[in-house]
Symmetry: none
Subunit: 401 residues, 2 copies
């Protein structure tokens, strides 16, 4: 990976346009007849493959299964080890909360404890989302601020919620209060750095007041907090790559992730068709588009191979419309693999299709894991995809003379 300072100095703004089309979790494993990409009929993607080049990329490094956060950070061209996004921030981002640089976000579970304050259920029997909303309403009413720090609570679903502490000089370096076991008390939000001591004291007061407010509730009479964190300071794509980038994604988490690197988040509908319509409508306004397709991952997580295949075929039918826009560079890839066989994210590398006037063709004709593995252009970290996109869009100057 080229250092950021060098990327900044090499990248230039040009009229050429790049589309990064991410089929979340598209890579997979064979269920007998091949992977979803191999089983899907994708004539248009195969055309792109024949005209382009194929390869595999590692989201983090071989063997490492990434969450959506680091997988996207890497695809966006940032070091996923250097820029780690805390769970609290990611959860808040996932429900569309707007966060400031000093905010500390934590992920909460409603939980159950007995008369001796011992945790009996870390998820309060997975209460309904409606019950969650009712409880959050109570908490919001009872706790608006603590020692001058604003407290913002929002439901996620079932037993999960997000709490954000907003004030000056807050610090997210605190240990989880979730003991990860039952029959024991919840833990204190211990500061992991001297700078976080004041914040930890505020979080402790919050928990005491929340327990007081919930004391007559059943089964959810307490809460466990995890993943305290603050916004990572990612240099915006405009600064780093001299791009004017936009994001088209239906799920809040991916919109949030795109926001963290300074993309403009476009309003779009729920369908794949509407995402491509949004692309067309905004074509003239940006030079970089991140288009995120969620359902390849969702069906992978469900182990629903047939539906995963259908989504890939649906995306394939969008390709002619994409080509009509005359992009200079197209990349089609996943953020990580989500094999139906594993019903979850996996460590397998991402297939990558890179299409532009300037790729060195490799004679391969199918956008599949197998062809990508053969695709003599080898295998490299996903973090290097962005420099390749910029290079193919002729947006990178020469390094050295």
């Amino acid at each position: 990976m080229i250092p950021q300072e060098i990327m900044k100095s090499l990248s230039v703004s040009t009229p050429s346009k790049i589309v990064l089309l991410v089929l979340d979790g598209v890579g997979g494993l064979s269920m007998g007849d091949g992977t979803a990409l191999e089983v899907a009929r994708t004539p248009y993607l195969d055309n792109l493959a024949a005209e382009g080049t194929l390869r595999l990329t590692d989201p983090i490094s071989p063997g490492i299964t990434p969450g959506s956060g680091p997988a996207h950070v890497s695809l966006f061209g940032y070091d996923p080890i250097r820029y780690q996004i805390g769970r609290g921030i990611l959860e808040a981002t996932g429900i569309n909360m707007k966060l400031g640089p000093d905010d500390v976000a934590g992920r909460g579970n409603f939980a159950s404890m007995d008369e001796n304050d011992l945790i009996t259920d870390r998820r309060a029997g997975r209460i309904s989302t409606d019950e969650n909303r009712r409880l959050v309403k109570i908490l919001k009413k009872e706790i608006r601020e603590i020692d001058g720090v604003e407290v913002i609570i929002q439901s996620v679903k079932e037993h999960r919620f997000v709490v954000v502490f907003r004030g000056k000089l807050l610090d997210g370096r605190m240990a989880d209060t979730d003991p990860q076991a039952t029959g024991v008390k919840s833990l204190d939000p211990v500061s992991l750095d001297p700078a976080a001591e004041d914040t930890a004291a505020i979080v402790k007061k919050f928990i005491e007041r929340a327990n007081q407010a919930l004391k007559d509730e059943r089964p959810a009479n307490t809460m466990l907090l995890r993943g305290f964190s603050q916004l990572p300071h990612l240099p915006p794509m405009e600064e780093l790559f001299h791009l004017n980038p936009a994001a088209i994604a239906t799920y809040p988490m991916y919109r949030g992730l795109a926001g963290l690197v300074g993309m403009e988040i476009l309003e779009t509908g729920e369908t794949i068709l509407s995402e491509f319509q949004t692309l067309k409508e905004n074509w003239s306004r940006f030079d970089f588009f991140f288009v995120h397709i969620k359902k390849t991952d969702s069906y992978g997580e469900d182990g629903n191979f047939k539906k995963k295949v259908e989504i890939i075929e649906e995306v394939d039918r969008m390709i002619p419309g994409l080509i009509e826009l005359e992009p200079d560079v197209i990349a089609v890839t996943g953020d990580h693999s989500t094999p139906c066989l594993l019903k979850g994210h996996s460590w397998h590398p991402n297939p990558l299709l890179l299409w532009s006037k300037y790729v060195r063709r490799d004679g391969l004709k199918h956008f599949t894991e197998t062809d990508c593995a053969r695709g003599g252009l080898g295998r490299h970290p996903a973090m290097d995809v962005m420099p390749l996109l910029l290079a193919n869009a002729l947006k990178l100057e020469k390094f050295g003379a």
Copy 2:
């Protein structure tokens, strides 16, 4: 490579079992009809290859020929640049000496010098091992301690021996005394760090006393010392990967290397068959087995192509017994290549066969260098093999959310 702190936080203990079968120096070059792996008939390894995935790994980085130390450190999942094992330590380990954290070990050559103290033969005419033992006996009798530091001397073979200095606050950062030339005096063990000054003074006294003890001997009337070093502090595999690992190896050096990363060293016989019997007998007790086959390397060093082929075929016949144990993950690889053509270690990447329920198959059917090069799963540092083994054994949690 993923940072150690992250590996620690991601790895979990599970009942699944991993076998890392290392055919030392197995990779090679063609002698006309193909490499040893290509010429060997290996139906069982080829079956594994067809069900698994192939690739190449670089022990260190392209072009770098590793010694056995860094090659294994890398295979065990540790950064071979960060964790360098000094020659003194490696030589001591190779003859089964038990070392403590403060010990300083050096590799010694018996040598010849003339009446003006000029070195005339850096190896004293490669004296016999018996002569070596006789001289070491003299030294042992004459020099037991220097200024409170215990001195332990052991023969290796021919002109080679090991000397270990055992005491408090010793420091191995000293220059070699071997001038790497004849017609000049031997060098002083100059300290390379102020902290090593006292140790250097002790080593200097040791050399003076040894020269005194050997003054009437011929041809070995002096010694040259190299590779002063101390045990590297490698975090044990249990801590880093949450594994309960065992090593099966016939040669002391590999047993020593396995010991450095905290593997339990199992007693075993001299034959390949007895190594696999040891594996079977201990199957229930561990979840990670490092099985080391030495002779592929030995015959490579000898340039004995035919014998190298035979050893590969002998290992192949062990594979059905291995499969009967029902391992979850098998890796078959070398630590480095040892082509008969070069009669020594080489820089060529290692062929790697990775077999588990969760590999992405690549349609290749022979465990050979050529198929591994085609094995589109690409090429990566050998250091990334461990994360892959853990991933395939479902022993790694997701990185980030």
